[in-house]
């Protein structure tokens, strides 16, 4: 059974895109990054809270087999490839709670590999 592990845009304060070669340009607000680890047969975290209209980068890794991440309600998906860091930028355009799931069959328990994204106003 998956433990409920939560992440929110605000709580996770990793930042990307802070290039040093553009000091003369007004600083762009960095997009928050939420790291998600996939393994047979769960995601950590498996509950993610985002804010409507606020871009966020989901950063996936797995030390396991090829897996998928699909939020069909938000129209986004990614392959999670062993040995790579896969980034998926999302700008949630609607509030609600949406299921994400593995859409690449990965074994007995694949069907339980799910989580939720909650988008708040």
């Amino acid at each position: 059974m998956n433990s409920n592990i939560r992440a929110t845009v605000i709580a996770v304060a990793f930042f990307i895109g802070l290039g040093t070669g553009a000091a003369h340009v007004a600083a762009q607000p960095a997009e928050p990054v939420i790291k998600i680890t996939a393994k047979k047969f769960d995601y950590t975290p498996n509950q993610v809270t985002l804010k409507k209209g606020v871009p966020v980068v989901l950063e996936f890794t797995t030390a396991d087999v090829l897996m998928g991440f699909n939020v069909s309600d938000l129209g986004v998906r990614a392959d999670i490839i062993p040995g790579k860091v896969v980034r998926l930028r999302i700008v949630p355009d609607k509030a609600g709670t949406f299921t994400f799931f593995c859409d690449i069959f990965c074994g007995s328990g694949h069907e339980d590999m799910t989580g939720t994204i909650t988008v708040v106003e």
Partner: protein
């Protein structure tokens, strides 16, 4: 050739409580009227569809898992009139990471269904059989994962949407499908067997084929197409345009209706009503009318 009589069959099969679902496309007047010569080539017949037997599964959702498939085989053998052929629409076995165990399950499944009286048996892989090794072990036992065959005026097409673990049919197979359809008359009677739904039934539970819409698009110009599939462990009927899609029950455990609960967990075994929600079906093809009469049949408890 014997003319199949549906009413006679229903009576013979003793279908007390069975649900009869008439599916199909009653041909429009004047559309594709057949010549006397052509109609002589047609004959009604019926086949049996079994699905999602998940041989090797163990767990509370089916404490009778070791005998359910054998009971289903006995039930089919007990039908008063035997079908022309039998089709298993995928997930013959429950998945395992161990290639040796996978082959053991496939071999045990093959040996159990060898007891079917009808020897014309067709197989299709499910993701549990084929997704972890791209169908390698499955093909050792059951041959090609996509193929066609013809039976009494109906062209049957078996599509593989599971050997790719990402649930794609794939461009190569779609081209093969297009070439097969191209050599058929437009008004051919076509039945497609596949494992996953070809349409987005409920993608949140992975009840979809990623490029299924491309297959449906290829089939769409043909007015007489019907799809039978498995995967979702319950009876379900859906139309994409003029094409009906019929999902079959499982022979291991039922799953909830699409989106009816947060998780697609198996429905619990009901000790008061063992085998509730499990079953198989007969499909009577009234070829000339392009009509398929589906009868859902239970697995006997005894």
């Amino acid at each position: 050739m014997k003319k199949f009589d549906r009413r006679g069959f229903l009576k013979l099969a003793g279908l007390g409580g069975g649900v009869v679902f008439a599916s199909g496309l009653v041909r429009l007047a004047g559309a594709a009227d057949r010549t006397a010569g052509q109609s002589a080539a047609y004959d009604d017949f019926y086949f049996v569809q079994l699905s999602d037997t998940h041989w090797g599964f163990e767990g509370p959702p089916n404490p009778d898992a070791k005998v359910t498939l054998k009971k289903a085989v006995a039930a089919v053998n007990g039908l008063a009139e035997q079908p022309d052929f039998i089709v298993f629409t995928g997930d013959l076995t429950h998945t395992t990471d161990d290639p040796k165990e996978r082959r053991k399950r496939l071999a045990e499944f093959r040996d159990i269904v060898a007891d079917l009286k009808v020897k014309n048996v067709r197989f299709i892989p499910g993701e549990h059989d084929a997704s972890l090794d791209k169908g390698e072990a499955y093909q050792e036992f059951f041959g090609k994962t996509h193929y066609t065959f013809d039976h009494k005026g109906v062209h049957f097409i078996v599509l593989d949407n599971v050997s790719d673990p990402a649930a794609n049919i794939g461009e190569a197979q779609l081209q093969w499908l297009a070439a097969d359809l191209k050599q058929l008359p437009k008004d051919a009677n076509i039945v497609v067997f596949t494992h996953r739904p070809l349409f987005d039934l409920y993608p949140q539970w992975d009840w979809a084929t990623r490029d299924g819409a491309k297959a449906v698009e290829l089939l769409m110009p043909h007015p007489h197409v019907t799809v039978f599939y498995g995967h979702i462990h319950q009876e379900h009927h859906h139309m994409t345009g003029h094409i009906p899609h019929h999902a079959a029950k499982s022979l291991i455990f039922p799953l909830p209706a699409p989106g009816s609960q947060p998780k697609r967990a198996p429905l619990p075994w009901d000790a008061a009503h063992p085998y509730k929600g499990l079953g198989y079906r007969s499909v009577e093809a009234e070829v000339k009318k392009d009509e398929y009469v589906i009868t859902e049949l239970p697995v006997p408890k005894g």
